[in-house]
C-alpha cells in the first residue's frame, strides 16, 4: 500500500494509489473501482466514491458532476444469508 491517506476504509485504498493509477492512464471510474477494489467492500462506496470522483475530476480537468459514479450494487447494506434463505434447509 503506497501512501498514508486512506480513501476506501473497507479495502485500505489510499489517495496515492488512486492518483498513481490515474497517472498510468486508467481514467474510467469503473476500471479504477475494479483495479483497486475501491467501493467494492461492505460499505458499497458510500464513503470513498465521492472522494474518488473529486480526485479524478482534479486530475483530468473535468467537473465532478460530469463523472457518473460506478453502478451501484445490491444489496444496499450487507444482508445475512440466513435472512434470505429462510430458517431450515430445504
Amino acid at each position: 500500500m503506497a501512501g498514508k491517506t486512506i480513501v476506501c476504509r473497507c479495502n485500505d485504498v489510499t489517495v496515492e494509489e488512486i492518483e498513481a493509477l490515474i497517472d498510468s492512464g486508467v481514467t474510467d471510474i469503473e476500471e479504477i473501482k475494479r483495479l483497486l477494489r475501491v467501493g467494492m467492500g461492505p460499505c458499497q462506496g458510500r464513503t470513498c466514491i465521492p472522494i474518488v470522483i473529486s480526485i479524478l475530476a482534479r486530475k483530468t480537468g473535468k467537473k465532478p458532476e460530469e463523472i457518473a459514479p460506478p453502478k451501484a450494487r445490491v444489496p444496499v447494506r450487507p444482508v445475512r444469508v440466513e435472512v434470505i434463505v429462510g430458517g431450515a434447509d430445504e
Binding site: D28, E31, Q44, V74, R80, V81, I84
Partner: protein, 388 residues
C-alpha cells in the same frame, strides 16, 4: 506488416491484440464502452481443463499451461492461483459419468482424479459432505483476477504499439467482395475511418451486430445473450473454499473463494435470455435461489453476509461452444464463448493471432470443432460442459 482491427475490448480482444503485436503486426482495437465491460469483468474467475470432450480439454490444457507462465510473461500480478476445481456427484450414475470424463481428461494429460468425501473435506473445510458420493478433483484448475489480467495484457499490448481505444464504437465496415477494407468508428461524437488489412470480431454477445456490419446474416453465428448472475459474501478466512466447488446436478450451482479478498462467489445455472443487451439488473429470485444451493454445499455460509450481486452475459451459441475462425477472406471471429472466454483467452488469443498473421497456428485448437459456419450447416457439437 499489415494493419489489423480488433473490435471488442474484452479479454479475447485485448489478449489477441497483445499476441498480434508480439508477432510484429500493427493493431488498432476498439471498445465501445470501457475495457472489460461486456463479460470479462463480470466473470466468476474460474479456469479449468475439466471439460467432457476432446476439443475443449486439449484447448484448455494448453490454455492452463499459458496461464501458468502468464504473470512472468506479462510482468504483472494477475492473481493466478491453481486452487483446483472440485465437481461433486450426487448419484451412482453421476459417479460413473465422472469416471468416464476423468478417463478422457487423463488421456490428454489433465490430472483429474476421483476422490472420496474425506479428501473433499480436507480440500474444502466448510463442505457439507453428506449429500455427495464422490468428487472429480483437478488440482491444476485455477482462478485469476479478471481485472488485473485484462490490464496486464493491455499494458503490454500498448508497450508493443497497440492503439487501444475505449469509448470508441465501431459503426460500420466497408467491404469489397469478400474483403473488409475499412472500419468506421465514432469517437467523441465524430465518425472516422481507418483502412485495414484484417478485422477480428471479438464482441461476444454483441458479435452478431458486427457480423451484420460485414454484410453477413446476423444469425449466421447465432449468439444469444443469457443473463448470468453472481452473488458474493463478505471476506472469509482464506482456505475455506479455495477451489471452485460444484455439484452439477444441483442446477450447476457453485461456490469459489475470491482470490483477491476471500469473499465467497456463488453462482448457479439460473439463467434467462437477456431482454436486451443492456439488461444486467440482478434479480431477487436469483439471490434466493443461488444462496439456497450455496448453504447446502457449505452450511456455514448461512452466517455470512451478502455484500454484492451483479450480472453479466453468457454469450451462448446453440451448442455452447465458441465460434472461432474465418468468416470472410480477412474477417475473423472469436465470440460466443458461452461463459468460457476468460479461461480460454490465453490459448485462443495466441491461436487467432497466429491464424491472422501466419495463416496457421501451433496451438492445439480444433478449428473444425469451433468452425463459425457449423451452425449454418446444421452441425452442432456436443454441448460444452458449462460452469464458470
Amino acid at each position: 506488416m499489415s494493419k489489423i482491427a480488433i473490435i471488442g475490448g474484452g479479454i479475447i480482444g485485448v489478449a489477441t491484440a497483445y499476441e498480434l503485436a508480439k508477432l510484429g503486426e500493427e493493431v488498432v482495437l476498439f471498445e465501445k464502452n470501457y475495457f472489460g465491460s461486456g463479460s470479462t469483468f463480470r466473470c466468476a474467475t474460474g479456469i479449468r481443463a475439466q471439460f467432457t470432450d476432446e476439443a475443449n480439454i486439449r484447448l484448455m490444457k494448453y490454455s492452463v499451461e499459458r496461464w501458468e507462465r502468464l504473470e512472468e510473461e506479462l510482468g504483472a500480478d494477475i492473481g493466478f492461483n491453481q486452487t483446483g476445481y472440485l465437481f461433486l456427484a450426487t448419484s451412482e450414475d453421476e459417479v460413473e459419468a465422472f469416471k468416464a470424463n476423468i478417463k478422457l481428461q487423463n488421456k490428454f494429460g489433465v490430472p483429474t482424479r476421483l476422490i472420496d468425501m474425506d479428501e473433499g473435506k480436507e480440500i474444502v473445510p466448510i463442505l457439507n459432505t453428506e449429500p455427495f458420493l464422490a468428487g472429480a478433483w483437478n488440482p491444476k484448475d485455477a482462478k485469476a483476477n479478471p481485472f488485473k489480467t485484462l490490464f496486464a495484457y493491455l499494458r503490454r499490448a500498448r508497450e508493443l504499439g497497440v492503439d487501444a481505444r475505449e469509448h470508441t464504437e465501431v459503426v460500420g465496415l466497408e467491404r469489397e467482395g469478400d474483403t473488409i477494407t475499412a472500419v468506421k468508428f465514432r469517437s467523441k461524437g465524430k465518425v472516422e475511418r481507418v483502412k485495414v488489412d484484417a478485422v477480428l470480431n471479438a464482441c461476444n454477445a454483441w458479435a452478431p451486430l458486427i457480423n451484420g456490419m460485414a454484410g453477413l446474416k446476423r444469425d449466421l453465428v447465432p449468439i444469444k445473450a443469457y443473463k448470468h448472475q453472481l452473488v458474493k459474501t463478505e471476506p472469509l478466512e482464506r482456505g475455506q473454499a479455495e477451489p471452485l466447488v460444484c455439484p452439477p446436478s444441483w442446477n450447476d450451482a457453485y461456490i469459489i473463494q475470491d482470490g483477491e479478498d476471500g469473499g465467497i462467489i456463488c453462482g448457479a445455472g439460473i439463467e434467462h435470455e437477456a431482454k436486451s443487451l443492456d439488461d444486467v439488473e440482478p434479480t431477487y429470485d436469483f439471490l434466493r435461489g443461488v444462496l439456497r444451493y450455496a448453504v447446502r454445499i457449505a452450511p456455514p455460509l448461512r452466517y455470512a453476509h451478502v455484500v454484492r450481486q451483479w450480472a453479466g452475459y453468457y454469450a451462448k451459441t446453440p451448442d455452447s461452444n465458441p465460434a472461432i475462425g474465418k468468416l470472410l477472406d480477412n474477417f475473423y471471429i472469436a465470440a460466443g464463448f458461452s461463459g468460457h472466454g476468460f479461461m480460454m483467452a490465453p490459448a485462443v488469443a495466441q491461436a487467432m493471432a497466429e491464424l491472422i498473421s501466419k495463416g496457421r497456428s501451433k496451438v492445439p485448437l480444433d478449428w473444425e470443432w469451433y468452425d463459425p459456419y457449423r451452425f449454418e450447416r446444421g452441425e452442432l457439437r456436443s454441448s460444452a460442459f458449462q460452469i464458470g
